[in-house]
């Protein structure tokens, strides 16, 4: 049964030390939950970026909440590199598990399917593979000759967190074509979603709307957070605010600038 909470209640469901999966910048980032997690003080997170991270990952790293980040990249897009991420990696203050996009998807899909691993082409001979002792290379059992292939272990997040346009009262969430959000939810032990609005109808009622729904079966709790992805865009709803991301990029160039930005933004984003 999906619970409908306020953002504070949703934030309390994230525990320190959790493996947390978050989507990429254009897919439905819950900035609302990012601010809430920054306020709530959970730390030691293992952040899984599906498959890349942005300002949301950089904020959590900058605030010292992330012990490990597993990602194919962290970037602020047009605004350049992610300052806190780059600083933390260079200083060795965060453990980085460099991946490649489809390997993150493969790990989550393995969890979705309840299998211990999924095979993936590519990677052999790269330093991405060389630095992932948790990945393996096996012989393709169907090949006549030698055919090494990489296998990626299942990624089972403790919690998946994202933002979507709408949910209904039963907890069905409209995700449209952003099916990686469903994959995250299938794979995760618990899924927390912020939405622009909760609708009265049943999103599963028509074939047209049902096609883009993540069923409530996979959704543990929902909170309403208007413009909850901003300054990232939300497909079909609103554009991103590249100016704000650029402002963040400039501020976060120094630890002091980051601290000031964070204090101001947290205060602003979450009315007491």
């Amino acid at each position: 049964m999906t619970r409908i909470l306020d953002i504070g209640g949703l934030g309390r469901l994230v525990r320190s030390g959790s493996k947390v999966a978050v989507p990429t910048d254009y897919s439905g980032v819950s900035m609302a939950m990012t601010w809430q997690m920054l306020r709530d003080g959970c730390d030691g997170l293992h952040l899984v970026c599906v498959p890349a991270g942005g300002m949301h990952a950089d904020l959590l790293i900058g605030a010292g909440r992330v012990a490990t980040i597993e990602t194919s990249a962290v970037t602020l897009g047009e605004a350049g590199g992610a300052p806190c991420f780059m600083r933390a990696v260079s200083e060795g203050s965060v453990r980085i598990l460099d991946a490649t996009c489809p390997a993150v998807h493969a790990g989550l899909i393995a969890a979705q399917k309840g299998v211990p691993f999924l095979p993936i082409r590519g990677l052999i001979g790269s330093d991405v593979l060389a630095n992932r002792p948790d990945w393996r290379v096996i012989d393709n059992p169907f090949a006549e000759d030698d055919d090494p292939i990489v296998v990626i272990p299942a990624i089972v997040p403790d919690v998946a967190i994202f933002h979507a346009p709408a949910a209904d009262r039963a907890g069905n969430v409209w995700i449209g074509r952003r099916r990686e959000l469903a994959t995250m939810a299938y794979a995760a032990r618990r899924t927390l979603v912020t939405v622009e609005r909760i609708e009265d109808g049943d999103l599963l009622a028509t074939e047209m709307s049902a096609a883009g729904v993540l069923p409530s079966l996979y959704v543990d709790a929902i909170a309403v957070a208007p413009r909850g992805a901003a300054p990232y865009p939300l497909w079909g709803e609103y554009a991103g605010d590249p100016g704000e991301i650029a402002r963040y990029a400039r501020a976060a160039r120094t630890p002091e600038g980051f601290r000031d930005y964070l204090a101001a933004a947290c205060a602003e984003a979450v009315p007491a």
Binding site: T24, S72, T75, T100, H105, G122, I124, N131, W235
Partner: protein
């Protein structure tokens, strides 16, 4: 200077690069470009405009775009689609690229605590293996970028026999020159130098050795028809997805006259 040359319109350097990208994509049915790759997108759009009368128009998928998105299965579809052999060309860059076609999108000076850290490998460690025509594109042509040996291999230029690989680098395009990648030799060969530069310039700016003719060709300028398309419908189309970039390119073009 001949009369013909005098009537050739003047060309902005980035227009030349875009036209070169269009040539490199010739024959593709489906080209995918990254979310923040306006130059590759412009080249692909130009080629599509040049081929508008074909009965099989080229598809362009721009990641993260809503208007240029043919995908409906989430973030994994690009990679599945590439693995199915349905993507003919993709563009990769790199903080470092070496003479063996290895690219580094991760960092310079040690790993994991790199002295300089870049965003990360994204999909390169997969796409470079399965997309037939990987075009390495980096405008900055310097010894900082084009090194003898990358500090971290996001994707290797070549793979030994026995490693599954249906794709790989085919060309390298920079602000100074165009190279072809010889997969058998695992080396670059200089194809042409952009007007205004010399072989010595290229050598100075390149930290790896490469093959070349004694008298390398000059990268050709786009013809008037091509330039007309680029400055017309392509620039308009580009402005929908990359407004900032389109504005800059238009300013560059306006400054020519």
């Amino acid at each position: 200077m001949t009369a013909a040359a005098m009537t050739t319109p003047r060309v902005a350097p980035r227009e030349r690069l875009i036209a070169t990208i269009a040539r490199l994509l010739d024959g593709c049915r489906h080209v995918a470009v990254g979310a923040s790759s306006p130059m590759p997108a412009a080249g692909a759009m130009l080629l599509r405009a040049m081929r508008a009368d074909d009965d099989a128009p080229m598809r362009i998928s721009i990641l993260g775009s809503v208007a240029h998105n043919f995908f409906t299965n989430g973030g994994v579809e690009l990679f599945d689609c590439a693995a199915q052999g349905r993507i003919d060309a993709f563009f990769l860059g790199g903080g470092q690229i070496d003479g063996a076609g290895n690219i580094n999108l991760v960092g310079a000076g040690g790993y994991p605590d790199s002295r300089v850290r870049w965003p990360g490998s994204f999909g390169s460690a997969f796409l470079a293996y399965v997309v037939p025509r990987i075009i390495l594109f980096r405008e900055e042509h310097s010894r900082r970028v084009f090194v003898d040996k990358v500090d971290f291999i996001s994707a290797p230029g070549t793979s030994p026999p026995g490693v599954f690989r249906t794709g790989g680098p085919q060309a390298l395009l920079t602000g100074l020159a165009q190279f072809a990648f010889d997969r058998a030799a695992g080396r670059f060969r200089l194809v042409s130098i952009h007007p205004g530069h010399t072989l010595a310039d290229i050598r100075d700016a390149t930290g790896f050795t490469f093959d070349h003719d004694a008298m390398p060709a000059v990268t050709p300028d786009p013809d008037a028809h091509t330039l007309g398309l680029l400055r017309g419908c392509v620039l308009d189309e580009l402005a929908e997805t990359y407004p900032e970039f389109a504005r800059g390119l238009r300013a560059e073009i306006d400054a020519l006259s």
